[in-house]
Symmetry: C2
Subunit: 327 residues, 2 copies
């Protein structure tokens, strides 16, 4: 079992070398934007989860670097294309690819990234490839389905909590789950352990997104890394907004709707007012409860995993790290 930190360092070193290779490949106008989007960083959570899961069942998790890189490439491809669709100008503090290189470049470089992730997978051990490719491609399509629902929610009058949970399951959680299961599959874990890791990842992935929703409202800019209240300003249908619309009394509900309909407002005034309704209506607590529910569901799966208890430490830390930021 290897620590996240160790795995992150060894992954990052190899991955940066890979990025340098990509950057030098012709045509540079195709590969340059790919290298740019990859080197900006991110937490590399998915490849680390893949390698960690592999390390639970194999003493040579580094063998699985291509699959880990594939997941990271695929994840970054989705961000790149999502930014075009969402007209997002900034990603991780720098210009998003479509702003820096133009929309056509962003479309085509994204397409190539998605395909490159499948080319990396073809390096997997031949006997593992059918199940790995099946899982990865199914997951990748689910991520597209999640993005589709997310876009539909933007223009939909009413979204229920269960519709929202299904959307974040597809858009966010399945790729976390797939990362863990792919690592386990490659390292030869049995079917039950593979499935338990998948289910752990699914629950933790949902909790992760709920945390993100909560931190947008109640987090600290410094540790969150994004502007606090961004979702509120954009009327994003997060768990908090959906819950508040369901739970608040008539007066607060009308106030909330009025804020979402205003096209001109002082950002801080809107954020403060909406935050107050989120807290008062019980929506904030409901989101925390839901997060805890999915965290606990994940822990239950982790407890059932047939490995030494000490080996579960890192995944427990990862899961509880989610809750600790939410006070």
């Amino acid at each position: 079992m290897l620590s996240f930190q160790n795995l992150l360092e060894s992954f990052e070193k190899k991955f940066q070398a890979e990025i340098q290779n990509i950057q030098k490949t012709a045509p540079v106008k195709l590969y340059g934007p790919i290298a740019y989007s990859l080197e900006v960083g991110g937490k590399r959570i998915r490849p680390v989860l893949l390698l960690h899961a592999a390390s639970l069942f194999s003493s040579h998790p580094e063998t699985y670097f291509p699959a880990a890189a594939a997941i990271e490439l695929f994840h970054n491809f989705t961000l790149l294309h999502d930014d075009i669709m969402d007209h997002a100008a900034i990603r991780r503090g720098v210009q998003s690819v479509h702003v820096k290189y133009g929309e056509n470049s962003a479309i085509l470089s994204g397409d190539a990234m998605s395909i490159m992730s499948f080319r990396l997978l073809s390096q997997c051990e031949p006997e593992k490839l059918p199940s790995v490719l099946d899982l990865f491609s199914t997951t990748a399509i689910e991520v597209c389905e999640g993005q589709q629902y997310d876009m539909e929610f933007e223009v939909k009058d009413q979204v229920t909590i269960s519709e929202y949970l299904e959307m974040i399951r597809l858009k966010t959680a399945v790729l976390i789950a797939c990362s863990l299961k792919t690592g386990a599959l490659l390292a030869g874990a049995d079917e039950i352990n593979c499935q338990l890791l998948y289910d752990f990842g699914l629950s933790i992935g949902i909790a992760f997104q709920l945390q993100d929703d909560w931190l947008d409202v109640y987090g600290e800019m410094r540790s969150f890394g994004k502007k606090i209240g961004g979702d509120i300003c954009e009327n994003k249908k997060t768990c908090l907004l959906i819950s508040a619309l369901e739970m608040s009394d008539e007066g607060d509900r009308e106030k909330l709707l009025a804020w979402t309909e205003k096209s001109e407002f002082y950002e801080q005034e809107k954020i403060d007012a909406v935050r107050k309704i989120f807290s008062g209506s019980g929506a904030a607590n409901a989101t925390k409860e839901l997060m805890k529910y999915y965290h606990d569901q994940g822990m239950e799966k982790l407890n059932q995993l047939a490995i030494a208890d000490a080996d579960k430490r890192e995944l427990r830390k990862f899961a509880s790290g989610l809750l600790s930021r939410v006070k």
Copy 2:
């Protein structure tokens, strides 16, 4: 060995059923545009080539339907995204996907199509999968590289014939070659035969694109299926334009450049004038010669293929069909 016609009919029947399934899948706003772009048709050349190549080495080519469908899906994905990048409003006589469904839908549905082609591949025989996935993903990236060069050529002052040939090799020919080789790989052909079929496809694919360039200028609307002179009106850097710029005398060259710089003109007047320069400069003949060269190169590879001569009939017919339309 099965005829193209037989294979086309059996492929189309199964593929239409597959399209019906896709159309009914939720979210319909993701899958609807995919079904729309697939059912509009096209000649299904690539899946037929795959199945035909398989039929040369196996008596059950229908087993390879998933791979054939994968190639057709991938090809249509590239058209879908190319149409966004090229701002093309019409595809096969109907509205292109980004015009009918909006650009975000076209991006996301295209992404899903590309991934679906890899999911279909995961159904290949496990022992064939590593080589099939390696070939398919490498080819798919080459197609992106080809599209990148094509976009760059639009804004580049000078493009040489060899740069142009490399572009069409990547954008068009490798997928034809990959179709044939994938069929052969799946049906268990040996490495030499697989490579010969690949090389045959590569040469014929290049000849195919050169024919397309030629037919745009000298073809008949009815059989070409596209507006004659479209490339001329758009100043598309085809083999004819590039050759004419290289081969024409100073006077014609200046006339040609003047036509490409005019922003307002009567279409037919421009088409007639440019066509005259293409013919007079020898560019038309040079393009025909080049087409014949690639055709002959392809036939040489086909001749070397270690199968009964009678079994080469359909591929010969396919290749010579190219030349017969060019007079």
